[in-house]
Amino acid sequence: MDLAHAQRLVEARSYIAALADSARTVEASSAYEHVLIELDRLHGDESPALSTDGLTTNRDVLFAVANSAVEDLQCYGLDALDIELLLTRLDEAHSLDRP
């Protein structure tokens, strides 16, 4: 894993973790957590540490940047179908988080 990949992965992980922490319900938080675990599984659990310090608490903004970060991972050799499935799960989690 090169540095650029690792940095983008850290961003994706951090945004999804922030979404999980700020979710309105336990179900939505759990759904985001499962997306995060799936992302780690795609990387063989060799992901760098995440940090949610200083991130916005606006869930829509977080969702948009998380989506973008996950999409970008396709540039670093991840399977396109895996990315699509991940994005679908992220979208489902976000729909659970809507008021």
């Binding site: 940095q7 336990v26 060799e46 995440l50």
Partner: protein
């Protein structure tokens, strides 16, 4: 478990002690031929030998931990105070003499497991059966785990059972072919002295909770309906947690426990507010652990079956109606399972970190927008994680998740002990009303 087997021995012996005119009970027919009584007597002797063997072994296992309160400490500091002269030593010696002198031999497995039509023989069979099973509870490795106070309780039980055997030996002495206990009087007095000596201390009846337990098994079969299905999945999850999960599966397990606790808490509130509050706190703790485990990785271990049961539990708890009423007994079952799962998960994380199965993820440099420098280097403390307690997750596990050991208070001696002591002192008071006594 010793509690069950000891209780059974005492209950059956109390029933035997309340039986008078034994010779009339030993025959199966009104004729009561001597040969029939002799056969029953020989069988009883074998059962008694089994009980004597357990008594002798149990007292030897407990003896090193029983220190006489009656005898002064020996002047020679290199001599133990529980050697010659102590009541428990005398009881051990007398029991060995009685056992070695008995020519009947131990009851065979078939004898122990074949019910008898005769009520007296059946009581003896039950006593011997319980004594044979109690060997698992008091000998070998189980003896190594006894505390001094538990050993006192065990010796007190052996003394009471020995007294019962002595009294029954006297009562059965007219049975054809009966073999009296060797040195019966000394055995009786030694048992009495030991019981008195032990009662001067503070016996710990938590000994009842020690001993062999059957291995917990998975609840197979289709999912139980309603909340029982959740209970079934949680039970199976606990059983599967014997195997070590990898870090990702551990995160899935933690997530499932968070969801189950949070979902069950509102349902428990109507029945037991204390449990509901504890489960809300448990859900919050698991949420914190979940956050802290995100930066823990590790591919050693498996845990697939446990994750499958966790998924079952989560799916079933989601399928419950919000107004589901949970019985107090089921609530208590959940609480017991939650406590054990919490302990196990705490053990898994601590052991995993100690043996290197779980490792902390590294931080990488990142681009900064709020400093003069473009690259923000990571803040390294250069303190290696050599101890599990250095990690936040371990602090959380120790301080919040791992439930404090319950304070059971002094264990109760139980009803059967009191019943056996009453039966030892029992004598028919109203001769006319007692069916065991001759009517004129």
């Amino acid at each position: 478990m010793y509690g069950q087997n000891g209780d059974r021995m005492r209950t059956e012996l109390a029933a035997l002690l309340r039986q008078h005119r034994v010779q009339h009970r030993l025959g199966s027919s009104p004729s009561q031929s001597p040969a029939e009584r002799e056969a029953a007597g020989l069988l009883i002797l074998r059962y008694r030998h089994t009980v004597l063997a357990w008594c002798a072994e149990a007292v030897m296992a407990a003896k090193p931990l029983v220190f006489s309160t009656a005898l002064p400490a020996p002047a020679n500091p290199f001599r133990a105070s529980n050697e010659d002269g102590a009541a428990v030593s005398e009881l051990a010696r007398a029991l060995h003499v009685a056992r070695d002198a008995s020519t009947a031999g131990q009851a065979t497995l078939e004898m122990l497991n074949s019910p008898s039509d005769n009520g007296v023989v059946e009581h003896w069979r039950n006593v011997a059966n319980a004594a044979a099973l109690a060997e698992h509870d008091t000998n070998g490795s189980a003896a190594g785990a006894l505390t001094a106070a538990q050993a006192e309780a065990l010796v007190g039980d052996v003394a009471a059972i020995t007294q019962a055997l002595v009294m029954l030996d006297h009562r059965y002495s007219n049975t054809p072919g009966w073999e009296k206990l060797a040195d019966r009087a000394r055995l009786g007095w030694a048992a009495l002295a030991t019981a008195l000596d032990v009662s001067l201390g503070q016996p710990d009846y938590s000994v009842d909770q020690t001993g062999w337990r059957p291995r917990t098994k998975i609840l197979r079969g289709p999912a139980r309906p309603g909340v029982l299905g959740v209970l079934q999945a949680e039970h199976n999850l606990l059983v599967h947690l014997r195997s070590f999960p990898n870090a990702m599966n551990l995160r899935l397990l933690v997530d499932s426990q968070r969801q189950v606790s949070n979902s069950l808490a509102p349902m428990a509130e109507r029945i037991n507010g204390e449990y509901a509050a504890r489960w809300v706190a448990r859900g919050t703790t698991y949420a914190l652990i979940q956050q802290q485990l995100r930066n823990i990785g590790g591919r050693l271990g498996h845990g697939g079956p446990a994750v499958a049961e966790a998924a079952n539990a989560t799916a079933r708890v989601r399928a419950l109606k919000p107004d589901t009423i949970i019985e107090p007994r089921v609530l208590a079952g959940f609480q017991t399972l939650f406590d054990r799962i919490d302990h196990r998960i705490a053990d898994i994380v601590e052991d995993g970190i100690d043996r290197g199965a779980f490792v902390e993820r590294i931080k990488i440099p990142r681009l900064g927008t709020d400093t003069k420098h473009l690259i923000v280097p990571t803040e390294e403390k250069f303190v290696p994680v050599t101890r599990a307690s250095d990690l936040d997750v371990v602090q959380t596990l120790r301080e919040q998740l791992r439930p404090p050991p319950p304070d059971p208070g002094p264990a109760s001696p139980g009803r059967s002990r009191a019943e056996l002591h009453t039966a030892i002192l029992h004598r028919p008071s109203n001769r006319g009303a007692n069916p065991d006594v001759h009517r004129l």
